[in-house]
Amino acid sequence: MIQIESLQKTYRSGFLMIPKVALKGVDIHVPQGMIYGFIGPNGAGKSTTIKVLTGLLRKDSGKVLVNGFSPSDVKSRRSLGYSPEQPYFYDYLTGRELLTFYGRLVGLWGAELNSRISWALSMVNADKDWIDRRLRTYSKGMMQRVGLAQAILGKPELLILDEPMTGLDPMGRRDLREAILSLNKEGVTIFYSSHLLSDVESISHRVAMIVDGRVVREGTVDEITASCGVEYHVRTLETLPLADLPEGVLSAGHPQEWICKDGMARDRFLSFCLKSGISIERMDHQRPSLEDILTQEIVRAES
């Protein structure tokens, strides 16, 4: 569905055309049927990558294929739906008129167009009275819903969403998550960027993390978090003297709670407890969150 290899993009701005490298060799492969999250801090290159995919920006170098075609080829967009970050539309139209306009651009007319609009609106939970009001009266959340509705009107095989959760209240985010999952069940591949890492963790099959124009982590959420190490949190029934602790075991701030930094430390601690006749009350493993890993990567890139 999406194939990006060694993608580079430089912006030139100002009178002196000072270059700023936005993408420094991005590699991403999104297979069919996947929900693919794309995360990173502001200015990391998420929107730039998405705009190259949708043909709005031209790449400097590298290989980019969308639905098997170059983004500069109109064919790449025949089965593509896209909703930009903070979608802007013709505010003199009503929501329904706007969807009619976009529907015609993807080849829908007459009864088919009307039924597709109804389907898209129900999918994003926007089949309400306000859809027949002028867009200039819409809230951010309503605009996001209309933005997603126009993106799915043509029943695309690939849906690209740039920060779709922005501006949505908790109900709106839930509706959007459900819409994404529902579309994915129908076979739609979804590539989306987001700042809301909890949402990304909960619905993405795979995730790419971009920092300073480079993809620094890629894989399933489990793969990414496991690769950054797992801590084991242990609670004992009895207290332990700090001086006797095996290597790699730290106090968690409570005389009966301990942190084993890795699997080896966990094993050492368990055998120590067994030998000392100390009972284990509870043990669980704790992985770093995507947010922890992203923060680490940002610090690393800045340093």
Partner: protein
């Protein structure tokens, strides 16, 4: 086929967008006001009243068409870019050339409606003042439309890569150069013949005038008010040749605009 359909959809939307523009109505009512003012001009003039009304009204049509192209046309593409509506639009399966052509046809439709309404007012004034409202005046109005079709393409070309203010200045420049290039060439040749300028200077002057005459669309060709007002027959196939001439320039301008627009990045 889908591409043609998309051009039509964009053109219709452009038309709907343009007719909501208040500037359009200001220009339209100004043109109507000036058309009625031509009755007074006819009364005050030492020339034949009907001739004055006819030639003045044809000039009003041309200038109001120019104003629409400049004040409505040049902002069309910029509005899409600055309003970021272009992001969603160009992510649909439409080429950038289809976008440019759709915008062009939408604005041209606005100009066509404007000229059609002015034509009704024009004939109304001629009928009211018993100024011999003949059918051949439509030939002159048709050529004003052809002229505006070129001016709209020029406005769109400049707006595809420049700011609205610069686009307006460039478009006005082309309009003026297009109307004066013929006279400029004649004047330079006359001056040269009379020997007022000699040597290298005269050669440079003539070459410059020939270049200006060749490169800018000869908009003076579309002003036939002298023929129709005085009821002089037009040369054979005049309308046909000038229609083809206009189509040629429009094709060139839209091709350049599409090429330029397709190279643009949209942030």
């Amino acid at each position: 086929m889908q591409s043609l359909s998309n051009i039509g959809v964009i053109a219709l939307n452009t038309f709907r967008e343009s007719v909501r523009d208040k500037i359009l109505y200001n220009i339209f009512f100004l043109a109507i006001g000036l058309a009625f003012f031509s009755i007074l001009l006819g009364e005050w003039s030492v020339f034949d009243r009907a001739h004055v009304i006819k030639s003045t009204t044809l000039s009003i049509m041309s200038i109001s068409g120019l104003l629409i192209s400049v004040f409505v046309g040049i902002s069309l593409v910029q509005k899409e870019i600055q309003g970021r509506t272009v992001l969603t639009l160009l992510s649909k399966p439409i080429s950038r050339a289809a976008f440019i052509v759709g915008k062009y046809l939408g604005l041209l439709a606005v100009v066509a409606v404007h000229l059609s309404l002015l034509t009704l007012v024009y004939y109304g004034i001629l009928w009211l003042t018993n100024s011999n409202p003949t059918v051949d005046l439509l030939q002159a109005i048709y050529l004003v439309f052809c002229e505006m079709a070129i001016v709209v393409a020029v406005a769109l070309l400049f707006s595809s890569f420049s700011t609205p203010v610069l686009s307006a200045l460039f478009t006005l420049g082309v309009y003026i150069a297009g109307h004066l290039s013929d006279q400029l060439l004649e004047q330079v040749r006359f001056v040269r013949r009379m020997g007022e300028v000699e040597g290298t200077q005269s050669v440079i002057m003539e070459k410059t005038a020939i270049f200006v005459h060749a490169i800018f669309p000869g908009l003076y060709r579309f002003n036939i008010s002298g023929y129709v007002v005085h009821q002089v027959a037009l040369p054979h196939f005049y309308l046909l040749w000038n229609t083809l001439y206009a189509l040629g320039y429009i094709a060139v301008f839209l091709t350049i605009a599409s090429w330029w627009f397709s190279r643009r990045d949209f942030l």
